[in-house]
């Protein structure tokens, strides 16, 4: 019962008026940076670090953590309503979320996203609280070969993303890989496709590409349709999910929590991977996978839960060992260092009031966020009533300001606009944008993990079957490929034929 005792002490720290207030500010700011495309949790935290200089450590970390997990709540809003990913973890939410908005179910999608986020977030904290040291040691065992195996599975699953046929998805994956290759090769320093342009040395940023291809592309397509776009009228009753939608969401929410929590332990862009894996898993488990991409609630519930669970477990290596495995925990760690607290393996035992205060505040924060976000659903959906000729320039402006605010780079603005045209053209040609974006994120990490493994083993491929995790996952990805081939060539059952003819 030590845990309960510790948690009780934690709540005593977290429930002081000041700490609840700071938690609220963090969650509010997190929701805002999550909603605004461009500014993500990373910039959101970094911007507020100087504001914490006068605070005590516990209050500071409570507020900064609030920004971090709060951003995962806000990220879904623009994805669902406007087809612009609010931050990187919400790319897959665009696929079905935006289609739900077109059908007038945007409110329900937002509601489920908030609800799933709350469950994923809260269960994630339970895991963090009970298992932090064990899981942190497990995460350290995860070296380049294991990482490569996980990404390989993800990569095989990429092919089944999107509503189009495999042959419409493949070119987008290849294009994504190509764009992801640009920049300095992190392992040899060779320049790839940079053409001497210094802004390209670090590669093409994810934010301008995603906002351009999704956001600007969407705007261009919409203006072409008509400036007086039909307004998605929503009555209050329709904001709430129907009974069927709620029932359909339970499975994805719990599976999303599991996937998100495990994937969150991995280094790097774990949120993106978590939401993407959850989406493809739901699509595989669905009775009618072909309906994905036309507005299934499962495609919102799963990923939006997974990224919240991932954001909790991504804090485990940082809190239990003092090793930040992702960019946002790294910034939080530096905030702690500035306050003279050095997170490390002894952090939890030496600074229990900070650790347990933070844990308790995260429970409170998740409740604050769900209370904050549910009424906002009505407000956000009302934004869609704004005439499109007014909404359109505002979205454009937000995309431009959001991109510029991250690196103060005009070059990224041209990337944004360039990929806006790209998104428009490929949407007209009926290609999906999501596989392109995800390939661009997964490709370079996959390559890096593969080559790091070989560098470690001095070129011997045996490194890939030395660990049981690696071997299992590589076999799994092989099986997935074979299964896909089998499904494509097997004789179709009578009912499937009937279904196809019926369409």
């Amino acid at each position: 019962m030590e845990v309960l005792n510790n948690l009780y002490n934690g709540f005593q720290v977290a429930l002081t008026f000041k700490n609840v207030y700071l938690c609220f500010i963090g969650c509010l700011w997190g929701t805002i940076v999550g909603v605004l495309p461009g500014i993500g949790p990373l910039a959101g935290i970094a911007l507020l670090i100087p504001a914490t200089f006068g605070m005590d450590v516990t209050g500071a970390i409570i507020m900064l953590a609030g920004i971090y997990y709060g951003a995962m709540y806000g990220g879904s809003t623009t994805s669902i309503l406007m087809n612009i990913p609010g931050e990187s973890a919400s790319v897959v939410t665009c696929i079905d979320g935006f289609q739900m908005t077109r059908k007038g179910r945007g409110g329900a999608a937002l509601f489920i996203a908030a609800w799933g986020s709350w469950i994923g977030g809260t269960l994630g904290i339970v895991g963090l609280m009970l298992l932090a040291p064990t899981l942190a040691n497990f995460a350290m065992k995860f070296g380049p070969p294991e990482m490569f195996a996980v990404l390989l599975v993800a990569f095989v699953l990429l092919g089944s993303l999107g509503k189009g046929s495999f042959f419409k998805t493949l070119p987008m994956i290849l294009l994504g890989l190509l764009v992801g290759t640009v920049g300095m090769d992190p392992l040899t320093g060779a320049m790839r496709f940079t053409h001497g342009i210094r802004e390209l040395f670090d590669g093409i940023g994810f934010i301008p590409v995603a906002m351009g291809a999704f956001g600007i592309g969407e705007i261009l397509v919409s203006t072409e349709e008509s400036l007086v776009r039909e307004v998605f009228k929503v009555r209050f009753r329709e904001l709430l999910p129907t009974r069927e939608e709620l029932r359909a969401s339970w499975g994805p929410i719990f599976r999303g929590t599991g996937i998100g929590f495990i994937v969150g332990l991995l280094p790097g862009s774990a949120h993106v991977l978590a939401s993407f894996l959850s989406y493809t898993m739901e699509k595989r488990l669905a009775k009618k996978p072909e309906e994905f991409g036309s507005g299934r609630i499962e495609g919102v519930a799963g990923p939006e839960t997974a990224n919240n669970a991932a954001s909790e477990s991504a804090m485990i290596p940082f809190l239990a060992l003092g090793i930040p495995t992702g960019p946002a925990p790294a910034v939080m760690m530096i905030a702690l260092l500035i306050h003279g607290v050095r997170p490390g393996p002894l952090f939890i035992t030496e600074q229990p009031q900070i650790f347990w205060g933070l844990i308790a505040s995260m429970y409170i924060g998740n409740v604050i966020l769900v209370i904050l976000n549910l009424p906002l659903v009505g407000l956000f959906v009302n934004l869609l009533r704004v005439p499109f000729r007014i909404l359109f320039p505002i979205i454009l402006l937000i995309c431009l300001v959001g991109t510029y605010s991250v690196n103060a780079s005009t070059f990224e603005l041209s990337i944004l606009l360039g990929f806006g045209v790209f998104g428009y053209v490929f949407r007209k040609l009926e290609f999906d944008i999501a596989p392109f974006i995800l390939a661009m994120i997964i490709g370079p990490t996959l390559e890096m993990a593969f080559r790091q493994s070989l560098m470690r083993s001095a070129g011997s491929f045996s490194i890939f079957w030395e660990s049981p995790i690696t071997m299992t996952l590589i076999v799994l990805s092989g099986a997935l490929v074979l299964w896909n081939i089998y499904r494509a060539i097997r004789p179709k059952a009578a009912w499937e034929k009937a279904l196809e003819e019926g369409e």
Partner: protein
Amino acid sequence: MRYPFKLAVVVGMLFWMVSGVSLAADYPTKPITLINPMPPGGTLDLQARSWASIAEKHLGQPVVVVNKPGATGMVGAVAGAQAAPDGYTLTVASVNFTNAVEWEIANGRKPPFTYDDFVYLGSFTMSPTLVIVPFDSPFKTLQEFMAAAKAKPGQLSYCSGGLYGMSHLPIEIFAKATGLKFRHVPYSGGGPCLSAVVGKHVDSAFQYPPTTIPLAQGNKLRILAVAGARRLKSLPGIPCFKELGIDAEYYGWVGIAAPKNTPKNIVEKLREVTKKVAEDKTFIEAIEKPGDEVYYLHGDDVLKHIQKEAKVIAEIDRELAKTATK
């Protein structure tokens, strides 16, 4: 009037120069921008922000930090070098300047800026790296580690937070000074590299004190030596390279620079402020709490230090560039 626009520009410039001179007397009269060529949230960023918040008090004007990351700091450095030399745009200078410039030269490219594009106002840290191995590694001392590396050249591996960066070059300098050979596995960032050492995916690394010391205290890794000429206050029991007879030095230093041609009196004023900040109690606390040490260098000495380290880095980079293109 054939060139009305050009004439207007010239006249405007004249006025601007005159006004610049008059402004220099009672500098500063408006907020100062401090360009940080590194992304927000890193150690360097926070040290720069601490500097800015203390310098404000001495300057009587706000100092606003603007992050302009890209191309390992070159984008921001170029912006800083090309800014108007009026003392209202300063740049965070660091060892990354030298890393980037020498790497460009080693690869046969013209560096986008040179060390002489700046006048240095002073630096305030000079951190050595620590030689670390996993906690249950067989190596208890640096000598044992070196003996093993000598017995199996190119077999022991190390990780870095990025190619040609602040945690890659110190090992290469060490390897060159001792004639040893190691296998390099680059990671993207200091955190992932530390986790590779703790998880025993590599045999060693050279990393900076703030993140490393707590892990050693928690028995997750072992510190063998300080890769520099002096011991650290926070690690009195760990020997430094100089004592062990190894001549390999590389420091992560951070300082402030202004564009060249900045008026003399402004440079003097800023140098004075930089020194005052380095002696400020709050500033020292902000640097030392995370485990770093304040180490002040006068502006002229910063340039001397850069020239010294540039020679060492240039030699290393030339060899690395050769093997990379092979």
